[in-house]
Symmetry: C2
Subunit: 161 residues, 2 copies
Amino acid sequence: MIFTDIQKGFMQKAIDLSIENVANGGGPFGAVIVLNDKVVGTGVNRVTALNDPTAHAEVSAIRAACRALGTFSLADCEIYTSCEPCPMCLSAIYWSGIRKIYYCNTKTEAAAIDFDDDFIYQELAKPATARTVEAIPMEELHDDALKAFRAWELNPAKTAY
Amino acid sequence: MIFTDIQKGFMQKAIDLSIENVANGGGPFGAVIVLNDKVVGTGVNRVTALNDPTAHAEVSAIRAACRALGTFSLADCEIYTSCEPCPMCLSAIYWSGIRKIYYCNTKTEAAAIDFDDDFIYQELAKPATARTVEAIPMEELHDDALKAFRAWELNPAKTAY
C-alpha cells in the first residue's frame, strides 16, 4: 500500500512519542488520533507512571481526543499507533467508533519484549469457564441486578451509545 | 456455589451503584474492587457523562482502586461487577492482575438492551484482516517504530509489568 506524506507524518508522530516515552520511563508505545487530517489527541503508555493499568497509548489517545472534541464518539477519526493494539485497546477502539487503525510493530514483537497481548487475545477467545481468570456467576442476586437493566430500558432521558 | 454474606454485600453494593447510575443518567453497570474483605475502589458507567468511551464500570473501578492503593497491580484483589465484563474491561482485568470476577447479569442480557459486547468478543476472535475495523500495517516505518522497542530493552531503569 502507498501512503501519503501526511499519513507517514502521523505515524512518525506516534513513533516519536513512543521513543520519547521510553526516555521518560514509560512503555515503548505511542498513538495519535486524526480527524480530517488534523491530530485531535495523542497518548503514550503511562501505566507505571500513573499507576493506571488502563493507561495504554491508544486508550489514552482516545480519552484525549474525546476530551478535546467534547464527544464520546470518534466515528470519523482514524488512529495511528506505533504497535498493533492489545485487546483492551482494540475493544476501546470499537467502543469509540474508530474504523481504521494504522500500525507498525506487531503483537508478536510486543510479546517478545514481554508485553504479552497475545496471551490475552487467546484468553478472550476461550469460553469464560476455560479462562485463567475465574468468572463466577452469583445467581442469587441476579434478579436484583436485572433491575438496573429494566430501569435503563424505561428511562426516557437515557443517552444510548 | 454458596456465597458468604460479606460476598453478597459486595455484589449488592455493585448492583446499588448500577441502579443509582441509571437515575443519574448513566449506563446500568456498577463494579466494586475488594482487597482483604475491604472495598478499595468502585466504578459506574460514565461514558456519556464524561465523554469517555473507556469509562465503563470495571475500568473505572480499576483506576479508582489503583489510585487508592498507589499501585498498578491488583493481583490480590477481586472484582464484583453487576454484569459480565465486556472485552475491554476483561482485558483491563487481565492487565491489572485481578484473578477472580463475580458477576450477575450476562453479556447476552447486555446485548439485549443494546450494549453489544458480544459483537466485540466475536470481532476480537477473528484474524485482524477479517475484522470490520480495518488494521493497516505501515511497513515503510516499521524499522523506525522498532527503535522504541530496542530502547526499552536497553533501558536499565525501566519498570516492567
